[in-house]
Symmetry: C2
Subunit: 295 residues, 2 copies
Amino acid sequence: MSFKINQEIACCGGKLLKLSHQSSETKTAMDVNIYLPKQYYEEGITLIPVIYYLSGLTCSPQNATEKAFWQVQADKYGFAIVFPDTSPRGEKVPDDPEKGWDFGLAAGFYVDATQEPYKTNYRMFSYVHEELPKELDSYFNKENTKIDFLDNVAITGHSMGGFGALSGYLKYYNRYKSCSAFAPIANPTNVPWGIKALSGYLGSDKELWAQYDPCSLVSEVDNTRQSTILIHCGTKDPFLKDQLKPEQLQEAVKNTSWEGKIDLKIVEGFDHSYFFISTFVPEHAEFHAKNLGLI
Amino acid sequence: MSFKINQEIACCGGKLLKLSHQSSETKTAMDVNIYLPKQYYEEGITLIPVIYYLSGLTCSPQNATEKAFWQVQADKYGFAIVFPDTSPRGEKVPDDPEKGWDFGLAAGFYVDATQEPYKTNYRMFSYVHEELPKELDSYFNKENTKIDFLDNVAITGHSMGGFGALSGYLKYYNRYKSCSAFAPIANPTNVPWGIKALSGYLGSDKELWAQYDPCSLVSEVDNTRQSTILIHCGTKDPFLKDQLKPEQLQEAVKNTSWEGKIDLKIVEGFDHSYFFISTFVPEHAEFHAKNLGLI
């Protein structure tokens, strides 16, 4: 299906497109932003790689677009960046206000729900990793082949989105060239946010939970490319110890093909905010640019 | 009086302080953010210059702090940046909801009101250009003299804040070393936003209005330093023709000491948003850094 361009905004050397489209996975209209770097508008570029950025709890595609400041990095290296939404939205989408801000709307957790009443719409895993890239490819590349939405791609995200990036990367290891995360929920089956979301969306089957947990997936995925995963967390992040647990991922990779390949940087004084994210976006951009063959 | 540090946030190489203090001008508590660049935390720096950034209609100190992305430039050149609020706030501050979002709260227009019921609190001109710099100097420089809030300073702003920067710069020509503006209301006595604000705060005396209008002030202030004022406006700014009128400032400087010194750049495709601002912040930062003796 096609995209509607709601806004086309000049930004840095390229353009930010605020799009919406009808998703067959979520059965709702979904918003998605994409920044097309200056290279997209230049002659002679054949294929522009794409970084998918998954946002955290409570966010829409707007927050990171406005505050993470990926755009200047996209222009520097020549990648596009896609900002999907964090859940289905709309009147018919079930939500449970009693479950709070960390479940339901804007808290889709990038899984495919199996439980009623969520399983019809909350299919964010298939939406983000399957439907959206294919739809973008089909929409943008009808008349040219400038943006490589499917093959030369990387993934990153913040908090819940950091979890989404890690799980998607490991489950689609042959798809994504690289993965990084800002303050990810690294071991969701073991922390309150994750347990609430996974039990709500997936029920009580902990084997199913494990199929999304980066700490389980790393032992099942062979790191054939000797890939490193870059992760930043701040020492003043109030969620570091109880919700994020990045050290559990380092523990989990011991004696696996990922051992030594989790580049976890605990940075002094930083919190969980976009001020933290935007500070380290340049380092993540350079990391992905290398893996995408841009430098 | 003293400042309360509400938040101290690690950001880029320095720190963002979210402050509040009791203002004797506005007779309210005022929020103000300040970014202290990495140089502030290094040994051996004696005096760090300051750029004051005045925000536009509807904004608080948070918007530009989060979205304009001055911080990385502050670290690059070594200046601090101060983000004042756009009006007094609080239960006792008069507002007139019928006057809309472009008057009253978050729309103080950086003038000293003379009219009831506004004149007691709406003293944003004296607050921004007099009280705040002195209070910051007295607070931060008790134990050191690292930040030069009073002498090596520049001013900039967006929209209403661009007007505030221009009028403050021209009225305090011996104070500010340089001035720039993003999409300023350049001729407020001649456009709906300005007429509404100036008549509401200053009454019907158009001679008083003129004392704030950059287009009047330029003929009264002798450009002894051969100073250039840098201004960016976007061609897709919906307010360009009816509210901003930067070309009126170019017209007004003819046959004055400012002739040829308004560096007005009308940039193709840009709008009025923070995407526009953040795109051109690096150019404004370099402009001010030169005038502040940093490069």
